[in-house]
Amino acid sequence: MDDSDDDYIENISGDEYQGAPRRSRRNQAPKGAGGSVENMKMANGGYSWEDEYHRSWDVVQEDEGGSLAGSVAGLVEARKKRHIKDATPFQRGIIRNLILVLDFSFAMKESDLRPNRYQFVINHAIEFVTNFFDQNPISQLGILGMRNGQAISISTLGSNPNDHINALTAAKKLEPQGDPSLQNALEMARGLLFHVPSHCTKEVLVVLGALLSADPGDIHVTIDKLVIDKVRARVIGLAAQVAICKELCVKTNFGDASYYGVVLNEQHFQELMDEATTPLAESQQSQSANPASLVLMGFPSKVSEAAPSLSASDAALTQGGYVCPQCKVKVSSLPTVCPCCGLTLILSTHLARSYHHLFPLAPFIEVPCKNAHKSEFCAGCQSKFPVVARDAKNIQADGSMTSRYECPTCHSHFCIDCDVFCHEILHNCIGCQARSYSLYQVVVTKHKDAAPSLKLVMKRPDPDGEESSRPVKVRVVNDNEGPAWNEGGQAPTWGE
């Protein structure tokens, strides 16, 4: 009591705003909470409820003319700007086997996520399935649920998105009930991933809404077994941080705690799910876990038939499909595993879909005011940029005054819409492509009667006109320091 009174008097004396702990007390009404508040304050240097109250209406300010148009446009733009992703080309596990574990326990009946948690999660899970197969066409996905203390299988490990979507839609009718059991779900996932070959990654994504786990045995033993089996887990919490989830993520991801996220709002949940669609970057330790290897795959050709015939993959009559080159059996859709001989069947386009993970597009840099005069129109869509005076200062601290974003390679300016488009959907820089040179390119040489062959070559624009080429360096993350070059520093030269 006495302590808090002292502090209170200090504030009344009219001291100025002095730094985080003091500042946090300024706006707080004297509640006389006593010594306990002191202790809490010491623990962290300022809790979120003590921070200065952010009034959301302060963000919007009128400009001289009394109009809000400028600040509204700035807000819209700021919302469009995504997190700048790290664009160094890491080596990634492209062929993935992911088990999605959903919570069907009592805690999912809460309605803090609209309409209630389990419907919200299932809807987003359906979107996740689509996105996942869009980004990782040669991967496989399986879905489990935790209900009544047991782990139930919603759909088995497979590569056809429609199966999973149908299973999830059927699961919508399932009422959430009972306690979740993390251990049972993890054991079941481990079992499903047991026989997966070593070149594929094994991943588990858990969406946990409850704050407890009712397990039949020791979950730490399960976690250790997961580590031995090289399974990597990622958890999205809906309510609050749970220690066992944190331990699970840290242990299975070689000490990296960033794989555990707790949602702040619905948008944040979407973002966390989207993070899971990107393939995991390989670290030094994970490289030893999943060494590089060659995978035998088949590239079937399409046949169209006059009369429908049975296909082996789903026992349906189809008029055309793909013929497995090894056992000559017909399957109806790709990518799939041949049901007779077990060969992975894919199209070359599926491989091409994953290239942008390996060669990501560098993020665009905001153009400072002094360079804003260099461009009048967006290089991507030819829309007009707002005119900015050369010496204008940034009015908004977080918004861009010039609305121009520059590609570091070709130095052309883009608007925010083209920036988002290039990074999220197209994965090419429009300016680099339109100038016919780019940092990474694959040169296609054509042959007489065969499909073109590809060569991965890194080119740099050379002022002399000669082309210099180096092979692509695929980097591996060193967990302690940061990216390091592959084995031995000196890159071998390209021999023709």
Partner: protein
């Protein structure tokens, strides 16, 4: 009272009876690589082709009052948006009129100021496209172009997609969009694979059909065929190699490529149906049916490389993994059953 229930009734006509009458944006990508046009000069001259293209653009604008068009040209040194021009349509027209009144070029008649016989919407577009296209063709260095083998198709596709993204999706208008690629193609053309595939996937995601019309005798670009197939577009080869002739370009364009995206589900598309999806090995350069894929860089090989290193990303494979790959399936020893 069920008859009055308004929850399920919709005010618009049901879809079967009337077609979706939305306007559409057509992005035409024109090959401006002069040496290629020179090669097929005997079959069709550039001015004839340009005239056909202009008639096709007019036809597209005639289909619907709010249809719009976007023209992009590309050659070995890059790609550029030709229509709509950056500085606005009116100023380009007046600038061009001034230029024309000063000089009459190449035996073309300068159009009289009193030429009012054309619908103004067609006329503005035609004038600008013609001017810009001729500028692009005239200002390229012929020798340079012949030397270079690059082709900026990926640049042109990226430009088209960026433009469509801004004007159709971001501005939330009701339009549909499609892309038509008019390529001549020559023997040594090299196309960047990854950027082009990225463009194709983006078009697939945004549901933009990509049509390809091939005029010249160069060999078939397989991944252009793949592009048309994945985006449900039309691939037509009207070169002499295919026993057709590019001289009838205008008729091919007007009959094959005129259909709107909203009409496409209802008609049979005149596209080539046998598309080769197979890949070629990096090492032996032959087409593979079954091959090994490097798990790091996804390159395709038809046999295990001899030096145990991947040719592209240079990762070494351990002995153990390679041994596992070459292993034949185990034969289970049959246990002898002793009969009593």
């Amino acid at each position: 009272m069920n008859a009055i229930d308004g929850t399920s009734r919709q005010l618009k006509d049901t879809e079967d009876q009337t077609l979706d009458d939305t306007p559409s944006l057509l992005s035409i990508i024109i090959d401006a690589h002069v040496p290629s046009w020179e090669e097929i000069k005997s079959q069709i001259s550039i001015s004839e082709a340009v005239a056909s293209i202009l008639v096709f653009i007019n036809a597209h604008l005639a289909l619907h009052n709010s249809n719009s068009v976007n023209v992009i040209g590309y050659n070995a040194s890059g790609a550029r948006i030709l229509y709509p021009p950056k500085s606005g349509v009116e100023s380009t027209r007046s600038k061009e009129r001034e230029e024309r009144s000063e000089s009459v070029s190449d035996g073309e008649q300068a159009p009289s100021k009193k030429d009012h016989s054309m619908y103004r919407q067609f006329k503005t577009v035609d004038e600008v496209v013609q001017t810009e296209l001729w500028n692009m063709l005239n200002h390229t260095n012929y020798v340079e172009e012949e030397k270079q083998h690059n082709s900026a198709i990926s640049g042109a596709l990226s430009l088209a997609l960026g433009f469509i993204n801004k004007h159709v999706f971001v501005d939330e208008s009701r339009m549909r969009a499609r892309i038509l690629l008019l390529t001549v193609g020559h023997k040594n053309e090299t196309i960047q694979y990854i950027p082009t595939m990225n463009c194709i996937f983006a078009a697939q995601k945004l549901k933009i059909p990509v049509d390809v019309c091939k005029l010249g005798p160069g060999s078939d670009q397989v991944f252009l065929q793949q592009a048309c197939d994945s985006t449900h577009g039309i691939y037509m080869d009207i070169s002499e190699k295919n026993s057709k002739t590019p001289k009838g370009l205008v008729q091919y364009l007007l009959s094959g490529f005129i259909s709107d995206p909203s009409l496409r589900p209802h008609i049979v598309l005149p596209t080539q149906s046998n598309v080769d999806f197979r890949a070629a090995c990096f090492l032996t350069k032959q087409v593979v049916d079954i091959g090994y894929v490097c798990s790091v860089c996804l390159c395709i090989m038809s046999q295990i490389p001899s030096n145990r290193r991947c040719p592209t990303c240079d990762t070494t494979y351990s002995e153990k993994t390679l041994a596992g790959l070459g292993r034949k399936p185990l034969k289970k020893k049959k246990k002898k059953v002793v009969k009593p």
